[in-house]
Symmetry: C2
Subunit: 137 residues, 2 copies
């Protein structure tokens, strides 16, 4: 399941995607439109900024705007930024690979191969869902 953070991030991105290109959106504006706790959203927008998904303008009349094209932001990207690996175990992950602490011999693991298959399929599906595809409904 997605964390609230990831869900809120997606809702915020969807809000931004629906504004005019030139418009910068204040945090409070996004928070109210998407029913997200404002102080929590502040952190999330900063994370999205550090991930280069949104840009910001500081000071009065500042706010946030999409930095990437809507169809370059995928569900997989947001999942990885907020919730980490797509794979079901770290040993089956591309971007968050780690050995399992209880694993004796990874090459002998019966689970791993199956989980790599799952990761490949869900990753493909999650890369197909973009902010653009979601807005188009």
């Amino acid at each position: 399941m997605l964390s609230h953070k990831a869900k809120y991030a997606l809702k915020a991105l969807l809000y931004l995607a629906q504004q005019e290109e030139t418009h910068v959106s204040r945090t409070i504006e996004i928070a109210e439109a998407a029913t997200i706790p404002k102080k929590f959203l502040e952190q999330i927008l900063l994370d999205l900024k550090r991930g280069h998904f949104v840009g910001s303008k500081q000071g009065k009349f500042g706010g946030y705007y999409l930095l990437k094209p809507k169809n370059d932001i995928t569900l997989a990207d947001i999942h990885r930024l907020f919730d980490g690996a797509i794979a079901l175990l770290p040993c089956a992950s591309l971007n968050f690979y780690e050995r399992c602490s209880d694993c004796v011999d990874e090459s002998e693991c019966l689970l791993r191969h199956g989980l790599i298959t799952i990761r490949e399929e869900t990753l493909k599906a999650m890369e197909g869902i973009t902010i653009a595809s979601l807005v188009k409904k």
Copy 2:
């Protein structure tokens, strides 16, 4: 990601699947073979029993054995038993449906449709991975 519980459950089921049909396996035997903390495994095996995946024999010379055919136990089943919904949000789940607390109008939600698509695809993939398919490597 899978919880340790779900991972241990899968490893335990794989161990049982590799024994002879008539053999009952003691908890300690499974725990050592699959490097799972024994007392933790006890709980997991009870959960698997309550889920009708394994059966048990009590008393001396007791232990656990597979109750279902190896190809009737899917990754989706075990995920649901230990980690709950396959879907990324409760509102997109079949078996664990719930409204999102922050959702104003579900029918208007841009996220939900995409997440239902993801759930359908990952579910199909996860139903394709069974204890039998994993053992066959």
